[in-house]
Point group: C2
Chain length 336, copies 2
């Protein structure tokens, strides 16, 4: 005999009373609750999530789907989501698609989740039409963080606006020769994010009548190494920009290293700005437009938990805030 039943036998109570006592339901006499608790401890009772899940239809777990794990943004979000779930006594199940090559099927084919979660948070994913439909047929509340996701409820910064603001900041410093480092992170990032940020950059230039130069548009693959290599290539070209807009902080870090390797000074010779708010920026003096993915994660978790608690769903979420952090990597354009 096992579980709750065993406690029932040992205390002379019924299964139902024990069940209620363990959950502190008000309809149980305080003395009974104490007795049951004591016995449970004594017997080393371990509740079975499967059993209660089966009976209630609730798992007390939330799934988080990431394209890959090893990316700054996802990890920050994960940290935030986790913190909030922990507070609420929910578990976190991590579904990693393992890159684009990985099996998207995995999550979108409904049978995989096997009703394991009560709600789902999807990170930086854009969906095919049928995937979106799949998502809708899943009965649990869902939320997407990061990157525009047409047709599904979504939380994140306004990538276009941030990029545009960042570029305008450089323009405001007098820069006219501005390079862009962006590019697709094939397996990791929302495929829309690089595009949005690039567009914001391009539009800012356009309003100032500046033609973007293809040799100043680097593909940094949204990584440190990529940013470094892209910057090195740009510096190797015939003409040199006076500023660089990197679509992510990690690429900006790479760019900074490449610039220093070339013997140039920041910001005297070359200004750099990024987007993200990565912790390394502090030491490296990176001027950046910081988002707070931890808070985004927390917020997403709170929204979903509220719905699970019975609150009416919020159909629309405001874009997440961006904070400008001015450090030392960007300065006035050198006077030609």
């Amino acid at each position: 005999m096992n579980g709750i039943q065993e406690i029932a036998a040992a205390t002379g109570l019924s299964k139902s009373t024990v069940s209620r006592a363990l959950r502190n339901l008000p309809s149980v006499a305080p003395s009974t609750i104490m007795a049951v608790r004591r016995k449970a401890d004594e017997l080393g009772y371990i509740p079975s999530s499967a059993a209660s899940g089966l009976a209630t239809g609730r798992t007390r777990a939330v799934g988080v789907v990431v394209p890959v794990i090893d990316r700054w943004f996802y990890i920050q979000v994960l940290e935030g989501v986790d913190a909030e779930l922990r507070r609420a006594g929910y578990d976190l199940i991590l579904f990693n698609l393992g890159g684009l090559a990985g099996d998207r099927e995995r999550v979108f084919h409904r049978s995989i989740l096997r009703k394991r979660v009560d709600a789902l948070i999807l990170l930086s994913l854009v969906f095919e039409d049928d995937e979106r439909r799949q998502l809708e047929t899943m009965e649990y509340p869902t939320l997407v963080i990061g990157g525009p996701a047409p047709g599904v409820r979504h939380l994140g910064i306004d990538d276009y606006a941030v990029a545009r603001t960042a570029t305008e900041y450089l323009l405001g410093l007098g820069h006219r020769a501005i390079a862009h480092i962006g590019g697709q992170d094939r397996e990791g990032l929302n495929t829309a994010v690089p595009g949005e940020r690039h567009e914001g950059f391009a539009d800012a230039l356009a309003t100032h009548g500046i033609e973007p130069r293809p040799e100043w548009d680097g593909n940094g693959a949204f990584s440190f190494q990529g940013g470094h290599d892209a910057m090195a290539r740009i510096l190797a070209s015939d003409s040199r920009p006076t500023a660089v807009f990197a679509a992510s902080d990690e690429m900006a870090f790479g760019a900074i290293v490449a610039i220093r390797e070339a013997g140039l000074r920041i910001p005297e010779d070359l200004s750099v700005v990024g987007i993200d708010g990565h912790a390394y920026g502090e030491v490296l003096g990176l001027t950046t437009f910081s988002q707070d993915p931890v808070e985004q994660g927390r917020f997403a978790a709170r929204v979903l938990l509220a719905e699970l608690a019975g609150q009416p769903p919020v159909p629309w979420l405001d874009p997440a805030p961006v904070r400008f952090i001015e450090r030392t990597s960007a300065g006035p354009a050198p006077s030609a």
Copy 2:
């Protein structure tokens, strides 16, 4: 009516046959399997992990416990563990202690896991005696990765040996004035790791009759920022070392930045070596002793999955391999 039952009714078969058909058991007629599959698709059947978990006592999930999420090492391991679990069709449940302040209780109090997992991987944790006992009473297979963990089965590199080797490498290059950057990561790391690595360092010096100098022993808190600040302090002291042994790559990166800020050259003025194999090392030219946490994660997962598949448990695991990556951050000691 729901689930398997519904399919049974629709096909005119019994629950049991449907159940077996869905699992492709050999005792079911191929034609029946096809029919059941078709019906299941048609009805949009979603299996319930809770129900099968309850019936079989297996959850097809493995738990991973981390002290905090946002650390390079843990994330790499997570990636490896996940890859292997995915292959095997297992889910990954992430338990974050959320720093030392966080609730260790959470995991060690048996009732929290609520039989949610079939096996448990613990990252860089040292245990109190009673926690170890708790762990033993949990019925499922368990494995610790990273940092020595007396009394429990454990996987990881030999921290002492690596640190000693790294230091001896610097000694071999003629360095005698060697600084150490280590220090406790209060909330993140196995409390034993910094100690082991420091000991390896100290012992290597000792065998060469070198007295460690306290002003050259920096606390870098196992972070980029920490490494930077520690190095800056060391450089600000009266005398300057000719080499630095950083107990982690991230601290080494910080040190490199600090050294360059001071206008010194690497490795002409100052050599740097690290431990880890962080991806940034490539660009920064860091000479390091690389471990492969992804592979450690994969390996750990494989070990546990094998046990879950019925293989006899392996009581002892060899230390994980370390690979020396010689790049450009360390060179011969400048001749005084």
